[in-house]
């Protein structure tokens, strides 16, 4: 239990004789074994003067998404819902892969923002920001690294929905559901994936602004309700909803063709829901005292 007289140096790097940074450069801290999976980063290890490479921060933040039970659960739930919704729709809607894949958007539109919010707020709930920002004091880099995995997840899950739709379509057509409609518009797939990425980005922005998962999730889940009500409040309310409801303004993206007016409305709502809260949130995190 008690292990004194065993300094890390003794075991790994020889005697501690003055610590010139140059000495640290390129010196492996321990015997690098075959199961060492981090060999690719050895070139830039142990240099205290050089900032941590961004890809390393990215690897760490991606790992944090799935290294707890709750992280694993939300991943499994999302993949499960995508597969299940595509397959279930297939039994009713017939062999139309584009329609089937789009069904997954219902689950993704809700869960991607939640995943993004949890990513951005988790470290503040458990106060692990204390450790994270002590290891990387350039907080904007940590925020950037945290933003990437949910956006990648949005793309990956969109593609997964499409991939699942193909065999489901084949099976349904085989089972007598009529001739398969293999018409898949690349522009639609791109636009629809874009919608899901925007939803994730909205979650990132809300999470970064509020740094509080319950508040951000409630806002994220209640905005469709809010806009449904606002849209019914006369012409002013309808106009407001038309320009600011990201769920509505993003829809034309998936239609394959977008008018200039639709583009302007989408840009307006994206600035309102993504750019502004993210900017304010970044400023807040950079200035915030970590306790």
């Amino acid at each position: 239990m008690i292990r004194v007289g065993h300094h890390p140096n003794d075991a790994s790097r020889g005697a501690r004789t003055g610590y010139h940074p140059a000495e640290i450069t390129g010196t492996a801290p321990g015997p690098v074994t075959k199961d060492d999976t981090m060999n690719d980063t050895m070139d830039d290890t142990m240099n205290a003067d050089r900032p941590i490479p961004f890809r390393r921060l990215l690897a760490v933040e991606a790992r944090k998404l799935a290294d707890t039970r709750s992280g694993k659960i939300i991943t499994v739930v999302m993949v499960g819902l995508v597969v299940a919704s595509v397959a279930a729709r297939g039994t009713v809607a017939g062999p139309k892969p584009q329609t089937l894949a789009a069904t997954a958007g219902i689950a993704l539109g809700t869960l991607l923002p939640v995943l993004a919010i949890l990513t951005m707020t988790g470290e503040w709930a458990h106060r692990t920001a204390l450790t994270t920002f002590a290891l990387e004091p350039r907080r904007h880099r940590v925020l950037a690294a945290k933003s990437v995995p949910p956006l990648v997840a949005a793309v990956a899950l969109s593609l997964l929905a499409m991939l699942v739709a193909v065999p489901v379509t084949a099976v349904v057509a085989q089972a007598g559901g009529g001739p398969a409609d293999w018409d898949i518009q690349p522009l639609w797939l791109l636009g629809w994936t874009g919608v899901n990425v925007l939803m994730a980005a909205q979650g990132l922005a809300l999470g970064t602004l509020l740094l509080n998962a319950p508040a951000a999730i409630v806002i994220s889940l209640s905005t469709p309700v809010l806009w449904a009500v606002v849209g019914r409040l006369g012409s002013a309310g309808a106009a407001l909803a038309e320009w600011l409801d990201l769920n509505t303004t993003a829809a034309p993206l998936a239609s394959g063709g977008m008018t200039w007016g639709e583009g302007a409305r989408l840009a307006t709502s994206a600035v309102f829901w993504i750019v502004l809260p993210m900017a304010a949130g970044v400023v807040r995190v950079l200035r915030k005292e970590v306790t």
Partner: protein
């Protein structure tokens, strides 16, 4: 290796730190001693760039901490052993740290050995750890980068006598091999036994600093501490402290700092 230069910190109108200046040299253990809420944690957070001083500056190895490329390789920090995701295993925390610093993953096992956490314990989630185990994990994390400077906030909190004995030996050993160690504590006796130098702080102000012998003034460190902090912290409690505890006069509880936001 650590230098506080006229550091002041205001929270609104409250002066949490008032013109704090002191240095910690290589090869020594400095105890940062003060009652709860004296400003110890605030000072350490400022040192590692997690809070900004209102005026003055704090540097590590001649640089503001936040300006180092990869500070974790030169400065080991343990700011709050309780600030962990309860769903992480101990080993996962160390793996994430080793990944961030670009160390081989075998490093997690090395520091686990160093702090006496077993392989089995390291595979359990931190939610089930005792405070003593969390402290050991926190120290393991601080040692990941084989640092020249160690900054530890209340590392003895929650350790059993065995653990405290172990930590004293570890810190002594690190200091003897050239490390600069700054540890905060309100546990007078723990600090007294391991520290070379003491910085006493109360209500944000440095009340005294010097070697343990200097501050003892021939009648013990506790007496000096009580006298110096008597006017700076809360008044004496109305009742007597059962069993004549550590700080009977000051009326403070030798509990945790965590309960006090300003600590």
């Amino acid at each position: 290796m650590i230098e506080f230069r006229n550091v002041s910190k205001m929270y609104g109108k409250v002066r949490a730190l008032d013109d704090v200046s002191f240095t910690v040299g290589a090869g020594s253990v400095t105890g940062f001693l003060g009652p709860n809420g004296a400003g110890k944690s605030t000072a350490l957070r400022i040192l590692v760039g997690l809070a900004r001083p209102t005026s003055g500056s704090a540097t590590v190895l001649g640089l503001p901490y936040a300006e180092m490329g990869c500070p974790g390789l030169r400065v080991g920090t343990l700011l709050d052993a309780g600030a962990r995701h309860p769903g992480h295993t101990g080993r996962e925390v160390l793996t994430l740290g080793a990944m961030t610093l670009g160390l081989p993953r075998t490093r997690a096992g090395e520091v686990l050995d160093l702090v006496g956490l077993t392989e089995r314990e390291s595979r359990r989630t931190i939610g089930g750890y005792s405070l003593g185990m969390r402290q050991r994990l926190g120290i393991a994390h601080a040692l990941l980068g084989d640092p020249e400077v160690l900054v530890l906030d209340e590392p003895a909190n929650g350790l059993d006598p065995q653990g405290i004995h172990w930590m004293r030996g570890l810190l002594r050993h690190l200091a003897d091999s050239g490390c600069a160690v700054l540890l905060s504590s309100h546990l007078l006796h723990e600090v007294e036994q391991v520290a070379d130098n003491i910085v006493m702080i109360g209500r944000g102000r440095v009340l005294a600093q010097g070697t343990v012998e200097e501050l003892s003034r021939g009648r013990g460190l506790e007496q000096t501490f009580l006298e110096l902090t008597a006017h700076t912290d809360r008044g004496p409690g109305t009742g007597t402290y059962p069993g004549g505890g550590m700080f009977p006069g000051a009326g403070t509880h030798p509990g945790t700092d965590a309960g006090r936001g300003a600590a």
